[in-house]
Subunit: 230 residues, 2 copies
DNA sequence: CGTGCTTTTGAATAGTATCAAGGCCGGTGG
DNA sequence: CCACCGGCCTTGATACTATTCAAAAGCACG
């Protein structure tokens, strides 16, 4: 993929663009490097040295944390406009891995450059701080959910979360069972059971690799006690 | 408690002081308000409008998130030098409550002032961003732990966490069962069972309201598979 | 000493994880 | 074109773990 200047870039939800700092955009334009990643490719690897920040231009990337005996926890799902690798800032190594779920294009800015950008653009620092703040709220909401929800509720919560980010024009989401289970923090067998239930209840329609939400309100009702505003 | 100027303050781990920006310290000195909170008093209340930031001068405060049917999740424990209320930044209302676990003194800076401080001190913004980054790492590590650990492991993890923050000279921690259970994300009965086990195994000593860790290494071994570096 | 609160223990129940097997589908090669 | 293979998904039976309910024991307080 050929490099496109930030000023010429069509991505309307890019973090750098939404900062609205022309000088910053010019600067990033000169130092960023856009790369293509094919499906299931690692963007960052848990334990690797922190090299810089990644800005998603297009594609879907899962952020995962490896646990005990091969188990993985999906920490969050991302798409264009999101940032990857910011957890590493201020630390030595990345605490998570990021893996593409489909072919993606991602812009990279190295450590030195991003620090230089922070120094010259307080707006960037401030906006990124706000980004962290939002992420922290989400993360802590998730702690509560995983700690207190039943398996059924976890599945519904994960479905709504996925749908919110990834739904296509048919209210459908394409995500494989393992990823969805890792997102919910359960195993695939239980996920499968709950999905079957929801299908039987007419709330979902399931084809080979697509889940369609027929009755979103009923899903929302299931997680209602947790006061989640989707 | 009478107001002490930041420049005169003895708190060596205050966030504002560690920024090392004299102008900032002068500014905060003029706008901050230090208040005394007695044990079990609410500092911020979940759902309340975001008013500003709190800097802990002394005391221990638990940050909790209320869940379903009266259950609460302890999101983190804090002490002097920590910040409270930063999750609210950029949002309308606080997503969490903060409650003192002992008599505490806390400095408050209102929204307008803290935003003004951000504008005039890029260092503050940057340092706070780094603070968020660390918190986010911790938070996501906790997601993984709660999702994958057994009850026994959760208890051990919570004990080590509490000890790291709150241990006194005897390697003892003072924390009531309910708080420890809410931190681990389990109920008090199970906590009690595990504590009894650990006591029987000689790893812990338990008196009425104090838990003493006799063999820290054995505790660390129990959560070893999760690669936690305490 | 009661009285009320927290903590501990026990037993029954419910929920979840694991193990094992079978089904579905796409791809490959005869 | 069809049979076979392998991966992913689903389902069932079983074992295990955690939750709930109930009750007793310990402790603080008046």
């Amino acid at each position: 993929m050929k490099e496109v200047a930030c000023t010429e870039c069509s991505s309307s939800d890019c973090f750098i663009r939404t900062c609205g700092d022309d000088q910053l955009m010019q600067f990033v334009s000169n130092v960023k490097r856009t790369s293509f990643y094919k499906k299931k490719q690692y963007v960052v690897f848990e334990g690797d040295q922190v090299l810089g920040l990644f800005f998603i231009l297009s594609g879907r990337i899962k952020v995962v944390s490896s646990g005990i005996s091969g188990k993985t926890q999906v920490v969050r799902l991302t798409k264009s406009g999101d940032i990857i690798g910011h957890r590493g800032l201020g630390g030595e190594t990345y605490p998570i891995s990021a893996i593409t779920m489909e072919d993606s294009n991602i812009c990279f800015v190295d450590n030195d450059s991003i620090y230089e950008a922070f120094m010259s653009s307080p707006k960037l620092t401030f906006d990124l701080m706000m980004y962290y703040s939002k992420e922290l709220r989400n993360s802590e909401a998730k702690i509560k959910n995983i700690a207190q929800m039943s398996v059924r509720e976890k599945v519904v919560d994960s479905l709504l979360y996925s749908e919110r980010l990834y739904r296509d024009d048919n209210n459908s989401i394409q995500i494989d069972r393992q990823d969805l289970a890792d997102l919910a923090g359960i195993n695939t067998e239980q996920l499968s059971r709950v999905l079957s239930e929801l299908k039987k209840e007419g709330i979902l329609a399931i084809t080979k690799n697509e889940i369609t939400i027929n009755d979103r309100n009923q899903l929302v009702d299931i997680v209602q006690p947790f006061n989640i505003s989707y």
